[in-house]
């Protein structure tokens, strides 16, 4: 068991100017499940490979526990890359499939059997130990692969998009299994994914990266409720947060036809560099449909209604100007009561629920207030 520390760790690929990972500072607690998440090319996999010893570290250091492993060979780091290879051997028993790496390392037979039995108990595979992989279901085979890593008793588990290769159903199942298993084992785990839903559902904490730079690290709740900047606000959450930049007059942002009073702390945080503008964000579920003319209400022209049974979403455009959209779309998204849905072409009035506006500097994108 161990902590993991990235201490201003930097990776610059030869022939490139911008670091792939730029001065990453990240401390992962003993037993913690940390998810590195971000879009393609953000540096998440590079960070993981730096920890694994598969990428050179050009600046800073990486520590496992108190030990500086920056220049230590991968196999001497006491880590396990899980799911890298999970082809099971058809003629070997499940126990041998789990323990063969220990056999190669010359571990005594009795100890191998003991470690395999312990792992099997945790993985619910005890009754299958002496059978062939053929007797297992797809999910059980995944667990045998996990068992291979567990019996080695490494200090840290590393997983790089382990579910990308599975079909959708098995992906959701395995996601839950990995998360609960990790909690039972209590082994420090660093997990890389591009999927923010996976990150939110699995991690104790999430670290969001963009363009090689750590944007924010925190619990799923913190990331969702208090994104540190516009990037995190737009990346975390599905459907994505509505974000737009608006003129500010007398401490009020002009959103569509509405004047929205900004918090004191937000208004005070606006600097001349912002040019009298502020970036606001609010999640689809932070909006209430109200009768037209209500105070602080702005109007949305409905272009599409998506009914999902327990939920319904309006996709539309902000009336009376202003660029407001969710994620990569050019639409505003509003969660509405599924029993009371407007028609396509209607106009609805919405207000933002109290305390659910996120405000960011128009110049820097950093959170205000």
């Amino acid at each position: 068991m161990a902590t993991v520390t990235f201490d201003k760790a930097t990776r610059v690929y030869p022939g490139t100017e911008r670091p792939a990972v730029d001065q990453l500072d990240l401390h992962i607690e003993d037993g913690e499940f940390l998810v590195l998440v971000g879009p393609s090319g953000c540096g998440k996999s590079t960070s993981l490979r730096m920890l694994a010893g598969l990428e050179d570290v050009n600046g800073g250091a990486i520590l496992i526990g108190d030990r500086d492993v920056t220049d230590v060979q991968p196999k001497d780091r006491d880590i396990a890359m899980v799911f890298q290879n999970y082809a099971l051997y058809p003629h070997m028993s499940v126990a041998d499939n789990m323990g063969f790496a220990l056999k190669i390392a010359g571990t005594p037979k009795a100890e191998i059997r003991q470690r395999v039995e312990e792992a099997a108990k945790i993985l619910d595979l005890t009754e299958y130990l002496d059978r062939k992989p053929k007797a297992l279901s797809g999910g059980q085979r995944q667990r045998v692969a996990m068992g291979r890593a567990i019996v080695r008793q490494p200090q840290v588990f590393l997983m790089d998009e382990p579910l990308s290769n599975l079909d959708a159903k098995l992906r959701v199942q395995t996601r839950t299994q990995i998360a609960s298993l990790q909690r039972r084992l209590g082994v420090t785990t660093v997990y890389v994914t591009h999927d923010q839903t996976e990150a939110l559902t699995m991690g104790d904490r999430i670290a969001v990266l963009s363009a090689g730079v750590l944007q924010q690290v925190g619990t799923p709740r913190e990331m969702y409720d208090k994104p540190a900047n516009v990037f995190v606000a737009g990346f975390i959450g599905s459907p994505a947060m509505n974000i737009g930049t608006f003129d500010v007059t007398d401490g009020k942002a002009q959103v569509g036809g509405a004047s929205i009073t900004l918090d004191r702390a937000v208004a005070d945080g606006i600097t001349p560099a912002d040019g009298g503008r502020v970036t606001l964000g609010f999640r689809p579920e932070s909006l209430d449909v109200v009768s037209s003319g209500s105070e602080g209400a702005f109007e949305v022209d409905v272009t599409l209604v998506e009914e999902l049974g327990s939920d319904a979403f309006v996709y539309g455009t902000l009336k009376n100007g202003g660029d407001l959209h969710a994620g990569d779309s050019n639409q505003v998204i509003v969660r509405i009561d599924p029993r009371n849905v407007p028609d396509k072409g209607d106009t609805i009035s919405v207000t933002i629920k109290p305390e659910q506006t996120h405000a960011f500097s128009a110049a820097t994108g950093e959170r205000l207030g």
């Binding site: 290879n85 058809p90 053929k134 797809g138």
Partner: protein, 424 residues
């Protein structure tokens, strides 16, 4: 319902559209299949015959499929021995409109042998060692171009006979990555994983009683590491010598040539007073002998086959007293008078058994063997006839040694049977 079907390929073959894409690969009818694969795979794989070629089709996640397709294309451009990608097919739906997995299509490598096929035939006992040697060469070549494999194993490799040895080809690039240059950490991890996987695969063969009891699984895994390190050091390591020993430069290059590599760039530095010289290869390219043979004769064969053919070409030049003639002209005559007649003497129906260059190599071996027994020099035509009747006729067809014929599904008792219908 295939209206959303999308085929991404450099040269799409319209015949691809005729395959039953609205059916999951595991349920493809026998009449479209060329064979079922043998060996360990995480995915469903099937072979089909299309427009005169054999294609391997693998069901795999869409993003992974595109990634692997692109990587294989780049490896091919870098001239690394690997399978040739044909394309990616996405947007598959079944009759009920349910989405089906994307597929990656690659061309089956003719005359290639999966390691399991080699072990299930009775071969010389050092087969495992020769496979490991081939894999070490492949791994070094991949590492030289900056390819990190991430899952080196015998299952992810195909082998082709190459004179008395084998050459290895990369089949599965799913976990791979191309870098400008690999770090020692990446190389060491690849080798370590290769060792573990190979030992695991051999232990599996042993558990299935397909491996001679004498074979030392761990010893073979260790041999890979050793062979790799030797070759890597020879190809990339520096040599120091006193400035007067200039012949050492040529000797160094020749040593690499003997290993089958050409030196594209050699860095030479001296210390301040010029007494010590340091040389280190900066760019080395595989295929020293095969490139030379190709230039001389247009024959495109593997490295050790080329070595054998070049030796025979030298003997031909000596025997005909033409060592001082233009090498090109002699090579042309050798091709016309020796190589082609020998290969053409093999009846057409037996040519699917081995590649022409391999047949030529084996005929030379056979001639040596029967000449010794007869106590006289057996002429080549006579040797070919004897080889065809006594040897080749009894060999299996290796041109498309794919696996099980579609009609012969493995019995349920076979521990490997589920690998034909279950992914993961």
């Amino acid at each position: 319902m295939t209206h959303n079907l999308q085929i991404t390929a450099a040269r799409p073959d319209p015949a691809l559209l005729d395959l039953p894409w609205d059916t999951p690969l595991i349920s493809w009818p026998d009449d479209v299949l060329a064979a079922l694969p043998r060996g360990i795979s995480r995915h469903v794989v099937r072979f089909v015959r299309l427009s005169g070629r054999v294609l391997a089709i693998k069901e795999i996640g869409e993003s992974v499929a595109y990634r692997e397709y692109e990587l294989l294309r780049r490896l091919n451009r870098l001239d690394v021995p690997s399978v040739v990608p044909v394309g990616v097919i996405t947007g598959r739906r079944d009759a009920n409109g349910e989405r089906l997995e994307a597929v990656l299509v690659t061309e089956h490598l003719q005359f290639s042998l999966p390691y399991r096929a080699l072990f299930s035939q009775s071969l010389r006992p050092d087969t495992a060692t020769r496979l490991i040697d081939a894999l070490a060469v492949l791994l070094v070549r991949l590492h030289l171009v900056g390819f990190y494999w991430g899952d080196v194993s015998l299952s992810n490799t195909l082998f082709r006979r190459d004179a008395e040895t084998f050459s290895a080809y990369l089949v599965d690039a799913e976990t791979g990555d191309l870098h400008r240059e690999l770090t020692p950490g990446q190389r060491n991890y690849d080798i370590d994983l290769a060792r573990t996987n190979i030992i695991g695969e051999l232990m599996d063969l042993a558990a299935g009683e397909m491996l001679d009891e004498e074979v030392d699984e761990v010893g073979i895994g260790d041999a890979l590491v050793e062979r790799y390190n030797e070759l890597w050091e020879a190809l990339t390591g520096a040599e120091y010598f006193v400035a007067d020993d200039r012949w050492r430069v040529d000797a160094h290059i020749e040593r690499l040539n003997r290993l089958g590599f050409d030196v594209g760039e050699l860095e030479m530095t001296t210390d301040i007073d010029g007494t010590t010289v340091r040389i280190q290869p900066k760019v080395v390219d595989a295929g020293h002998h095969s490139n030379r043979l190709f230039r001389l004769t247009g024959l495109d064969v593997q490295e050790n086959q080329a070595r054998r053919l070049l030796n025979d070409l030298d003997s031909y030049a000596a025997a005909t007293g033409r060592q001082n003639d233009s090498e090109q002209l002699v090579a042309h005559d050798w091709l016309r008078k020796v190589f082609e007649p020998t290969v053409n003497a093999v009846p057409r129906d037996l040519r699917r058994k081995l590649e022409p260059a391999q047949i030529f190599h084996e005929v030379l071996d056979h001639r040596w063997f029967i000449s010794e027994r007869a106590g006289r020099d057996i002429p080549l035509p006579e040797a070919v006839a004897s080889y065809v009747e006594d040897v080749l006729r009894h060999r299996p067809d290796e041109k498309s040694l794919l696996g099980l014929p579609p009609g012969e599904r493995p019995s349920e008792d076979d521990p490997e049977s589920d690998y034909f219908h279950l992914s993961t």
